[in-house]
Assembly symmetry: C3
Homo-oligomer: 206 residues x 3
């Protein structure tokens, strides 16, 4: 089993569990919980593939369904114990978004798209599952409000294209830009960084 596949599965697990937790917070029923787990895990990639007119991965490869289903069952049963896994889940999620960002970028490059579009596709793959999760739970998407999350993906993507201008070996480009995503995300959470606010203190609502 390749490293790629292992990371993909760990990321899928982390995403599915975050879906379960959001769904249970909203007191959805079993069906609702599974659907939210599912869209959180595959929503970003599905949107990317629809825009690229590519085949949808999870429709042809059953691994995703099995992994998401098992992760959801696990998360429902052990929901009160998940706190102990918090660190691991955060790590899976973080290396997951690094991977999805790179996969999205490479799909864009294969289609001969502009680097900015490729980075957008990468960020979308990594982040839009969470956007769809929040919308289905009628919450304003959390990545629009706080946390350096998408920004980590965008910075990783910029590194990817900057390094491509050098003579660096392809594997190193992937490793370094993936590490940028992970490092930015870890630092942001560790030091509670957020994007510079565009609002002045006490500025009234527009």
């Amino acid at each position: 089993m390749s490293l790629y596949l292992i990371i993909d599965i760990l990321g899928t697990i982390a995403f599915a569990i975050s879906g379960v937790l959001t769904a249970m917070h909203k007191r959805l029923d079993l069906f609702g919980i599974f659907i939210i787990a599912f869209v959180t895990a595959v929503g970003g990639g599905t949107l990317r593939d629809l825009l690229l007119d590519s085949p949808i991965t999870w429709m042809r490869n059953m691994t995703y369904i099995y992994v998401i289903f098992s992760a959801a069952i696990f998360a429902i049963i052990f929901r009160n114990k998940l706190n102990y896994l918090r660190g691991s889940l955060f790590l899976f999620d973080t290396i997951g978004i690094a991977l999805y960002t790179l996969v999205g970028i490479e799909k864009g490059i294969q289609m001969d798209l502009h680097p900015i579009i490729c980075i957008s596709l990468g960020t979308m793959s990594a982040c839009f599952g969470g956007v769809i999760r929040d919308i289905l739970c009628t919450e304003i998407p959390i990545i629009f409000r706080k946390e350096i999350y998408a920004t980590a993906c965008i910075l990783g993507g910029i590194f990817y294209f900057l390094l491509s201008l050098t003579t660096l070996d392809f594997n190193w480009i992937v490793i370094i830009s993936g590490s940028v995503v992970i490092t930015v995300r870890l630092l942001a959470v560790r030091f509670q960084l957020s994007l510079p606010s565009v609002y002045k203190k006490e500025e009234p609502n527009l």
Copy 2:
């Protein structure tokens, strides 16, 4: 006019009317009411066809537009009398989801997809119009919260594939698995069944 077409039209009418009622509950204007009626009726099939990269049915066959428009006008005018039709509408809706489930499954089979994916496509065809309706009205989708609805479609789909393993005639497979959807839904509503709760009484929100 084939039985298939009649069921499809009755289902479309029931879906459109449920859209009108949700939209009017939210006090939308005429345009909003029509749009909600429309997405409730065709949203699930459209999502399925986008995922399958198939042509969108309602864009090539005007019947749907005319039926939805007429049903919406009817529902707006007679909204205070619709209670008398409650039973019929519920029946139309129920045989409608049975049909859409089977149509979705068969589209999946034609594309050589795994049975689990086919059942998902069937359930999506039947249920996601209502999901989009609720999201456009900023409600958490009702099928994620209560009622055996999607579950009836999933059980019907499982029967479809189990029966396919037998030597049973195709027409009987369709009739029996469609009846499973309808029966499960009728029993669930009659006896107010819902999915087993995953929440303990008084369990605080996650």
Copy 3:
């Protein structure tokens, strides 16, 4: 630079700025503001292209990204001064929806679709960016609730097809039906027209 392109860019600017204002009203962060500006500007056309299985315009033409990004930066910085531009923005928005309506209609005609579907595609191109904007901000879409907005697009579309039955020159058909969209919208806002209400005064909620 063709007149077509100028109108397209002015419309994109107006749409992006309306996205920024909605996002800032919800106190989204920088990333959220850009995403909302972007989907407001390109969401309607993207949905149309997905339904038509056409390539997505903004993925192949970087102009949109640059224009939206610049407009968003501008709107964030000068948000307290935008009131002075209110008239211009309203005008850009209005000629923008006229243009998008016509583009959507012509895409539909090229695919040999029924006039009603073409008008729907035109209206969708013009209006659904705003619908996605509102949904991502968990508001019921404003065009479902008030204002003659979609209705102006629909009326312009009807004129387009009625005039096509005459011997009128194509350029005149475009100019007249575009003017219908603009005029209806201007009159509706000037005289605060809205669709005839389907609700009786004091009618209780359904």
